[in-house]
Amino acid sequence: MSRADEQSPTAQPGSPGEVAPGGGSAVDGTGREAGPAPRLAGGGWRAVFGYWFAVYKRIWRSTVISSFLAPLLYLAGMGYGLGALIDSGDRTAVPGVPYVAFVATGLVAAQAMMTASAETTYNVFGAIKWLHTYDAMLVTPLRVVDLVRGHLVYVLMRLTLVAGVFVGVALALRAMDGPLALAAVPAAVLGGLAFATPIYAFSATIDSEQGFNVLQRFIIMPLFLFSGTFFPLTQLPVALQVFGWVSPLTHTVALTRALGLGTDSALWLEPWRFAVHLAYLVLWAGVGYLLAVRGLRRRMVV
């Protein structure tokens, strides 16, 4: 759900009014680093990560609902409720897979997408335009690339947390099974990054936050619904299936579903398919990263 329509709210979640102290500072003041000045310690992204982490420590309570509770409610409502309509006797949507397991293995990927999008939209735009956090950061020896990396490492942490908790609960509920299910966590995290970097690039280049409503309603929401999270893509008309396969979420879901259901299920993948899905996600994440750095540099420096 997006925020107010009308104007830029000055105080966004994830950005408390005062500036939180950065974590490990890149400059230790001892002067041991005698190299070229802008590359002090080379660990600038750690300070940026420290900033976002310090913010998160203050506001984490308010993220509990959207990060942890909402996916579980979806699991209960869709998985068990709709599952009662869909599974009857031996008949299930996908042979041998209870609907709740189908949904759980899809939701973990969808939740990663939602988290990535939530963390790289208003937070980035706000740091550029409303709170000028990025201006402040760039006055220090930090480079643009540190800003992007530090933020992405923070997103990585959030994704791991969200996917880890969800997979843990799904395993406890027997909606996922087997030790391989744990590998669904890194798969979901990679899928999340495939969204985080392009959305970061988008946030770094737009002029008005109205773009986020469009992103949410025309990209994120349709992908949430039409990427095989709740029903197999093959149920759709062919034109929509093509659209579905462009979506990084479809590829993430294929991975998390294979891993979450285990080697015996009908949805297990041959090794080359694993490789294709992984490569596609890495491509999105990589290209997005380059665009994000370029976009932010043009916005902040040039």
Binding site: D5, E6, Q7, S62, A84, R217, F218, F230, F231, Q235
Partner: protein
């Protein structure tokens, strides 16, 4: 001098009987909407995406559902639920996030109250605006669902005013809740109320799926009454019991309007 500037609390009649003062606020919002027309238009698509994902995608998995003694395709079952929930979502979205922004950041209502408008006018004006917006979305959604063949009865036209009633209730209560919010982070509690209703108010599967004890809980929520009312109308299944739904939603709305007026007065006039 005996005259004071104490605001008289002479009330306008509830809309749409006497809209003169609240209408000024509606006009203001309409003018402001020109700057975010894209957002305005995009609001229509979310329920439509849901309709096709659920109706076509899930529908193929579910097959048919039994409602009021007859088997209907899943899309026919779920379309009215999407219509009712989008009326709720739209109204809540408008009356929480947007109103909070005006209350805390742009201080719009301070300026409004320095004109002849009173708290009651603000409550009525904002809620009317939310309803107007909801009305447009509901009508467009019904048209799309009808064209797709998901609406079997002409009584469905009555679903538009029914959705307006749902919107009225949620906009009024949502706005009252907004007056208690301290920061944007509190907006997440709104999700805590909305999401369970969206998922569990007999929206995606019939009430009979629940064990009897839970059925009572579901029937206590306002959205359940909205969904059941709209579903009965789109399927042409008219009976006296629908009046219970209408009465419930009307009481819910009245409570919200009363609470909002009280709170705005308390926050801004004292």
């Amino acid at each position: 001098m005996a005259t004071t500037s104490t605001p008289t609390s002479r009330r306008a009649l509830p809309f749409p009987v006497a809209m003169a003062r609240p209408a000024a606020l509606v006009e203001r919002n309409l003018r402001a909407a020109r700057h975010y027309w894209l957002t305005f238009v995009s609001g229509f698509f979310e329920p439509v995406f849901y309709l096709f994902a659920m109706g076509v995608g899930i529908g193929a998995l579910v097959g048919s559902v039994e409602v009021a003694g007859r088997e209907v395709p899943y899309a026919v079952f779920v379309a009215p639920a999407m219509m009712a929930t989008s009326a709720m979502n739209g109204a809540v979205y408008d009356s929480t996030g947007n109103v909070f922004y005006k209350l805390k950041h742009s201080k719009l209502y301070r300026s409004v109250l320095s004109t002849p408008l009173r708290p009651w006018d603000i409550a009525v004006g904002e809620i009317s605006w939310a309803l107007l917006r909801g009305l447009i979305y509901s009508a467009a959604f019904l048209l799309v669902a009808a064209v797709a063949g998901f609406v079997p009865s002409w009584w469905a036209l009555l679903a538009i005013p029914a959705c307006t009633l749902i919107g009225l209730g949620f906009a009024a209560v949502g706005m009252a809740a907004t007056t208690y919010m301290r920061s944007w982070n509190d907006m997440d509690y709104v999700q805590l109320a909305i999401l369970p209703m969206f998922l569990f108010s007999a929206t995606f599967y019939p009430l009979a799926t629940y064990p009897p004890a839970l059925q009572w809980v579901v029937q206590a929520t306002p959205l359940y009454h909205g969904v059941d009312l709209v579903r009965a109308l789109t399927m042409g299944d008219l009976h006296v019991g629908l009046l219970v739904h209408v009465a419930y939603l009307a009481a819910f709305s009245a409570f919200g309007l009363w609470a909002t007026t009280r709170r705005i007065g308390k926050l801004l006039l004292t």
